[in-house]
Symmetry: none
DNA sequence: GAGAATTTGTACGTATGTATG
DNA sequence: ACATACATACGTACAAATTCT
């Protein structure tokens, strides 16, 4: 799954879907850090603003906890939405 | 090929023909952006409304994909009409 | 402790496209 | 043809918090 400029969904929605999938697949363990914003920016070829919107969406859903100066962490499973 | 104000065809039909020709000639590659609306507007000396009608016509035909905040892209060849 | 590097937070400006009047 | 408002997206710069050397 990759970012597609021709996809009708906003870029940040596409990235949020990618990260959510990787979290649910167990690629990122709870309490572990996600890749940094600049890393995700370069990896997917989008702006940092779009990366931050995607992470904010996942934080609102409960999948991610963001801490200034430290990074973005996968939230404990208890914080995740009902499956 | 240029826009002719004395031509009986609407300006947007003329512009659509020009852009379609340039796309088919390979001047604009699939998945690449077209020139912006304001650029086309100045380049051909017509209104933005006429430019948008031309682009919409090409989008309806399948040659172009329009995405808010990103631009207008040349569609992949699979989306083009039969040649 | 000091300083550099990294990471997230905030605030702009610019460009583009959409929608409405 | 013009104006307005809004959403999306990119770029830049700097601040704040943390970590590393």
């Amino acid at each position: 799954m990759t970012i597609d400029q021709l996809d009708e969904r906003p870029l940040w929605v596409q990235l949020a879907a990618i990260l959510r999938e990787r979290i649910l697949a167990g690629e990122f363990e709870p309490r572990q850090t996600l890749p940094s914003e600049s890393h995700l920016q370069q990896e997917h070829g989008i702006s940092r603003g779009s990366v931050r919107r995607a992470i904010r969406a996942l934080a609102d859903e409960g999948y991610v906890v963001v801490r200034q100066g430290r990074g973005s962490f996968v939230a404990p499973r208890e914080a995740w939405p009902e499956v």
